[in-house]
């Protein structure tokens, strides 16, 4: 009788597992209560995926913490209910209101990790570095089920197998720092699923991962969801991920649900202005050349001060040489094995790198983490010295060999070429006001007096669309997008001709990303800047760059003007990258069959692209300005 009921329940798929009604969460900050989530209601049906979409600070993570009862100690549920319908597998069917349970109570602890579990964005910091995977993954099982030690081991082993560890037996005794980012997230998923929970909360599970790894993790979550029949609450700001995963979508904005419903309805017919704006803010590949992203909060920039001060390049200066010419650049790292003597092994962080960037061009460099793109940018800035090669810079008609500059002339040269960092939170000193930050370049190079500094700081603020009244504030009082604008302003203070932008938008929300990308585009147009734009996001690079280089294992494998790269990609690695990008369109789901890890291995590429340790290959011209790396043999 009971079993019969259960099958009927399982088939009734729209039966709710979790019902949130009028949920409100507030935080005590400096003695006053600040609401983070106001009046949120939605339902998670059994076996389905619900996605919460929203920008940072919209309350989506707080909602998930409330469901698990792991709100920070200064937060509390001030209103509403979270009705959880226990799965009848372990206990008699019953409904509990999580909102009324004390977070440290036994009932709540029994739910956490057993019935409801969570995976976080950053697997490295979310796992303990000093406990083995067996210990950490098996812990929840030991807590919630009466099982013997060998059973725990077996369960963890089969879980690691399911989550796709290449060598589960070995992984049992490994520590998180010994694993790659993708494997760490797989370990995190194993940990969350070891008790076969009814609800998995995935809080930005792929945001910190490369696109190809992201696609694999998404596929894994999907297949495990089908196997265990669990519900998933997916929290993300990436509509592409949503399109591939969700059955229902909840859109949050400023702590409130502004729109919710089945995914088809929301994607085909978005109603709320925020959701519409979100769709308009995502760069896509089929954009026209002069199409602009619509930013949620457009910035008005005023560049006429700087335009007046800049001397345009003359025709002769332009034609003298490429703006930046990288020749045969390479960086090798030697790893020592053993401590006394023994063989050294060489890692080519950057290998045989040749690239010319023209004056006024915007060159995009794409690659996954570990491909050497940051090593390259550091060599260009002379933060690390290359093993071999040459960098020649066209300084308005004179060629300068960067690697041969001595310290004083390098210092002078730094004015020509500036750098914008990825993380605006750590690249601005928290102890300096914006005014100090913007004046520092002038002070370092001994330019002007303090009145001049102040005037220039005001102009720079106007240049990035910030109010000059903010000059006396400290970085912490700005949002991520504003901080990135400040660091762009700082980079432009000395009027450089070339900017290296290392992942300038990857730490930002989609809506803010559009704002920064538009700003960068406008600045380039108004000030005739040359960009080297480094990113892992092909769509972003496509929006900002004229020409794109794809980098893998320290080498450029394909260089092409943006149109030919996307319309006619040649290299298998470029194909793999393109295939792994989730589109925010329901008609273009990810093709998981393309996600073969072998596309990342130069030794597994099909001929004629296959490279070996001895064969670095050469770039072959296959179309107009379109180069692909092929083997020499």
């Amino acid at each position: 009788m009971h079993a019969e009921q259960q099958t009927i329940q399982d088939q009734a798929s729209d039966e709710p597992l979790l019902e949130i009604q009028n949920l409100a969460v507030s935080f005590m900050v400096h003695g006053s209560e600040i609401p983070a989530v106001k009046d949120v209601s939605f339902t998670i049906p059994k076996g389905k995926t619900v996605a919460i979409v929203g920008e940072s600070g919209s309350g989506k993570s707080v909602t998930s913490q409330a469901i698990l009862g792991i709100l920070p100690s200064n937060g509390r549920i001030s209103n509403g209910s979270i009705q959880y319908h226990c799965k009848p597998k372990n206990k008699p069917a019953q409904t509990v209101d999580i909102a009324t349970l004390a977070p440290t109570s036994h009932e709540m602890r029994d739910l956490r990790g057993d019935e409801i579990s969570i995976i976080f964005q950053e697997p490295m910091v979310s796992l303990s570095p000093v406990h083995t995977l067996l210990d950490q993954i098996g812990e929840a099982l030991k807590l919630h089920k009466q099982v013997s030690k060998s059973d725990v081991r077996d369960a963890v082993l089969s879980m690691l197998e399911k989550t796709g560890f290449p060598d589960p037996e070995k992984a049992l005794n490994q520590y998180p720092f010994e694993l790659s980012g993708g494997l760490r997230q797989r370990a995190m998923i194993s940990m969350a699923l070891i008790c076969q929970p009814a609800l998995l909360i995935a809080d930005e599970p792929t945001t910190a991962l490369d696109v190809t790894v992201q696609a694999q993790i998404l596929q894994l979550i999907k297949s495990l969801q089908a196997e265990f029949g669990m519900s998933v609450l997916l929290i993300t700001h990436d509509l592409g991920v949503v399109a591939n995963m969700a059955d229902e979508v909840v859109v949050m904005f400023h702590g409130e649900v502004v729109e919710r419903g089945p995914i088809e309805a929301l994607f085909n017919n978005p109603q709320h202005p925020y959701l519409k704006a979100l769709f308009a803010a995502i760069p896509t590949f089929d954009m026209a050349d002069n199409a602009r992203l619509t930013s949620l909060r457009p910035v008005e920039l005023d560049s006429h001060f700087l335009q007046q001060q800049r001397k345009p390049w003359s025709q002769q200066e332009r034609e003298h040489a490429p703006h930046l010419s990288i020749q045969q650049l390479g960086k090798d790292y030697y790893t020592r094995h053993g401590s006394w003597h023994g063989s050294n092994s060489v890692t080519h962080a950057v290998r045989d790198f040749n690239l010319d960037i023209q004056v006024g061009e915007s060159f995009g460099l794409v690659g996954e983490s570990g491909c050497g793109k940051t090593t390259l940018s550091k060599m260009l800035m002379r933060a690390i010295s290359p093993t071999h090669g040459n960098i020649v810079y066209n300084d308005r008609g004179t060629s300068r060999h960067l690697l041969e500059l001595d310290d004083p002339s390098l210092r002078d040269f730094r004015q020509k070429m500036q750098f914008v960092f990825q993380d605006p939170f750590s690249s601005l000193s928290p102890r300096m006001t914006v005014l100090d930050i913007l004046c520092e370049p002038f002070i370092i190079h001994g330019i002007g007096d303090s009145a001049f500094h102040k005037q220039r700081a005001k102009e720079l603020m106007a240049l990035v669309g910030l109010d000059a009244r903010f000059l006396n504030r400290y970085p912490h009082s700005f949002s991520g997008g504003q901080r990135q604008r400040i660091s762009i302003a700082r980079a432009l203070a000395l009027q450089p001709d070339l900017l290296i932008l290392d992942e300038p938008v990857s730490a930002l929300d989609v809506s803010v990303q559009a704002q920064i990308l538009n700003l960068l585009k406008d600045l380039q147009r108004d000030l005739n800047l040359t960009y080297l734009f480094i990113s892992h996001n092909l769509a972003v690079v496509d929006y900002i760059a004229d020409r794109i280089g794809v980098m893998c294992r320290g080498q450029l494998v394909e260089i092409a003007p943006r149109h030919s790269l996307f319309q006619n990609p040649q290299h298998p690695y470029t194909h793999a990258l393109l295939a792994a990008i989730p589109y925010p369109e329901l008609e273009r789901p990810l093709d998981y069959s393309q996600l073969d890890r072998r596309h990342m291995e130069p030794t597994h590429w099909p001929r004629p692209y296959r490279l070996s340790e001895d064969d670095a290959g050469i770039l072959k011209e296959v179309g107009e300005q379109h180069f692909v790396r092929e083997a020499t043999q």
Partner: protein, 332 residues
């Protein structure tokens, strides 16, 4: 790992040789030798000495030999377990230090034990209840302990005990046991006297330990893996002990290196004030009177213990923290 240990042991040898040479040089640095300071002392008391006797003594003690020869005699004896002869006490160094070493080790051991027993619960409580009234009051007490000089505390204790309890708390045992063999009564007497120096010496250490534990633990408590553990359904106490406490232990283990030498020395000033029969005051006196074999042996002991202590903490760190064990080129 075994290779690493072997390497560390081999590196210790030249380190100790260099230290021994330095120690010997530093002891010899002040002008003159033990005999000269001894003569000066006697002359200031109005006594005169036969220069022939001086010459005889100087020859007898080997003080007329060249510097390096003196060093060689001392170091070869040291390695063979002969610590040399103390001029001041007219006894072999081993006998001078002997009994006192044990008492010092007892005092230090209990001090360290008490420090840990008090500091750990308080530090853990402070870190888990930060910015609460209880945290603030414990912090205040901690700062007081940290800021009060130990010798002052010792003087205050001496005064209070004498004034209100009418007992002398100096020394480590009642006077009648001083030169007796160990007996139950003596042990009891030692334990009765022990708590005052332990408390006095331990205060600043305890306060410092509380502050460091609190700071380290609070850093760790903010880390996301704590939330992960909570999300698994771990209880708060077990969560605290298994994850953040374990990860905040590194500073504590690293401390052991400096702990070992402080077991046989340290707290000299307090020992003088409380007239404890520990090794601290002996070292002080030996350095003042240029009693070179006594001072030299002592300093060598400290150096050896420091080197061993650092090795022990390095090994413990590697055992406790796989990041140290497995990163940096080491292979499984």
């Amino acid at each position: 790992m075994l290779k690493y240990l072997l390497k560390r042991f081999l590196v210790m040898i030249p380190t100790l040789v260099v230290i021994s040479a330095l120690v010997f040089i530093i002891i010899q640095l002040p002008p003159g030798d033990y005999l000269e300071s001894h003569i000066a002392e006697l002359e200031s008391q109005g006594e005169s000495i036969d220069p022939q006797k001086i010459e005889f003594l100087r020859h007898e003690y080997g003080l007329d030999k060249p510097f390096w020869e003196q060093y060689l005699v001392w170091i070869t004896g040291f390695v063979q377990g002969d610590l040399g002869y103390s001029f001041e006490y007219n006894l072999p160094v081993a006998e001078v230090i002997g009994d006192k070493m044990w008492l010092t080790i007892i005092v230090s051991f209990f001090t360290i034990l008490v420090t840990w027993l008090i500091a750990f619960p308080i530090g853990m409580y402070s870190a888990t209840h930060p910015y609460s009234w209880s945290d603030y009051s414990l912090t205040l007490v901690g700062f007081l302990g940290l800021a009060t000089p130990n010798f002052l505390l010792a003087l205050v204790m001496l005064y209070l005990a004498n004034r209100y309890f009418g007992t002398s708390i100096g020394g480590l045992m009642d006077p009648e046991f001083m030169d007796q063999d160990w007996s139950w009564a003596k042990v009891k007497s030692v334990l009765e006297h022990l708590w005052i120096p332990v408390l006095v010496i331990g205060t600043s250490g305890t306060a410092g330990m509380i502050r460091r534990l609190r700071a380290n633990l609070m850093d760790e408590l903010r880390k996301p893996y704590v939330v992960t553990g909570r999300a698994k359904g771990l209880g708060e106490t077990r969560l605290l002990v298994k994850y953040p406490l374990r990860l905040s232990m590194n500073f504590f283990i690293a401390d052991i290196g400096s702990l070992l030498p402080s077991i046989i020395s340290g707290a000299e000033v307090v020992a003088v004030v409380l007239s404890l029969p520990t090794t601290g005051p002996i070292l002080l006196a030996a350095l003042q009177s240029q009693d070179m074999y006594l001072a030299g042996s002592f300093l060598m002991f400290l150096a050896a213990l420091t080197v061993v202590g650092v090795l022990v903490s390095d090994i413990l760190l590697a055992m406790l923290d796989p990041r140290i064990r497995l990163q940096g080129g080491a292979q499984r």
